[in-house]
Symmetry: C2
Subunit: 210 residues, 2 copies
């Protein structure tokens, strides 16, 4: 195994990769979504806690449930995208720790400390959201991540609380311990619709060598 990624790979994942809003008429297969998960799952999380949960909205019906919660500027590109992912997190991720981190009782670190569990779920599901986007690019997909939506509306529609829960949601997310983090459109972007790239901060504006 080479111990450095090729220049072509660095371009694909970082230097030439762009956020897309316009999509080619090319579907994303369920098999590709499974390949995506089977890459992103390997990214490191704290105590291997793996708190991310993902809904892949593939049909117009599923995406219409999302529309009322979207910022106006995110509606058209979301309806046009082959797939929209809701990257969410499970506040009760710690129930999986006996399996995921079996060498010690890591569940006890979080089960009675909801503030720590919340910080850990949000930080690590964001890390996993980034692994998701890099893995998508590694598979030739393009991403359009979005924070412009109403979290309360998305959580109410897709991860409702007890008493507001239909049968499907009761089965999958029984008591609203799953919360949306951000959204990400997936597909094959139309490079002719890209604008000029925005600048980035210089090394010396961000980093200090101590």
């Amino acid at each position: 195994m080479s111990n450095r990624l090729s220049e072509e790979g660095l371009d694909l994942l970082f230097r030439q990769a762009r956020t897309h809003s316009a999509w080619l008429d090319k579907p994303v297969s369920d098999d590709t979504l499974k390949q995506l998960y089977d890459l992103m799952k390997w990214g490191p999380t704290s105590a291997n806690c793996c708190p991310a949960r993902i809904l892949f909205l593939r049909t117009p019906e599923a995406k219409r449930r999302l529309l009322p919660a979207l910022a106006p500027g995110n509606v058209d590109k979301t309806m046009a995208a082959p797939v929209t992912a809701i990257i969410a997190y499970d506040l009760k991720f710690y129930e999986q720790l006996p399996k995921l981190f079996p060498h010690t009782d890591a569940r006890a670190w979080f089960a009675n400390t909801p503030e720590l569990a919340g910080i850990t779920a949000r930080r690590n599901s964001s890390l996993q959201g980034a692994y998701f986007m890099i893995a998508a690019r590694a598979l030739g997909l393009d991403c359009g991540p979005m924070s412009g939506f109403d979290n309360v509306m998305v959580d109410h529609e897709f991860f409702p609380a007890d008493g507001e829960t239909n049968a499907f949601q009761l089965e999958h997310f029984p008591d609203s311990h799953v919360k949306a983090n951000f959204l990400c459109n997936l597909g094959y972007g139309d490079p002719t619709k890209l604008h000029a790239r925005s600048p980035r901060l210089e090394f010396d504006e961000v980093c200090k060598l101590l």
Copy 2:
């Protein structure tokens, strides 16, 4: 440009990559740290807000300032690592938006909404922390990310508030709007010291196709 990463690349970044705690006696050059930043900076953030700030602790003196804040299990591997990065975030990231997102007044979205600014800084600096680790692996480095530390102590030592600020810190981080997110050791890991890999959740435990 190929539109899919090579199998070798997928192994390097995801499938064979491991979190390391034992390090080969091989330094990490400042030039490599600059290459790392020049890759990770391209990863997408909300409104291109780029809130991550990074301290690279390279010397025993710099790392000794961190030691009192570390969980006991993180001390030896941190002192042994060639570099320890403090991945932090700037709560006033929005002051850079006129440069980073010039087409609209994005600064106004955050400047008077500290709660939204905080959520945005934490989410996006975590995304950037993941880009940091993937970029490090792409350059042949290994990572040892850590959440086991006292945030208050790290912030007090490295990003102190007004009135507790020495000249160096006043210059770089004038009023404690920079906060630590997580730590990451960097170096070339010793593969003979790795334990068996922990399991991951299956696709159907994490993802739903709607």
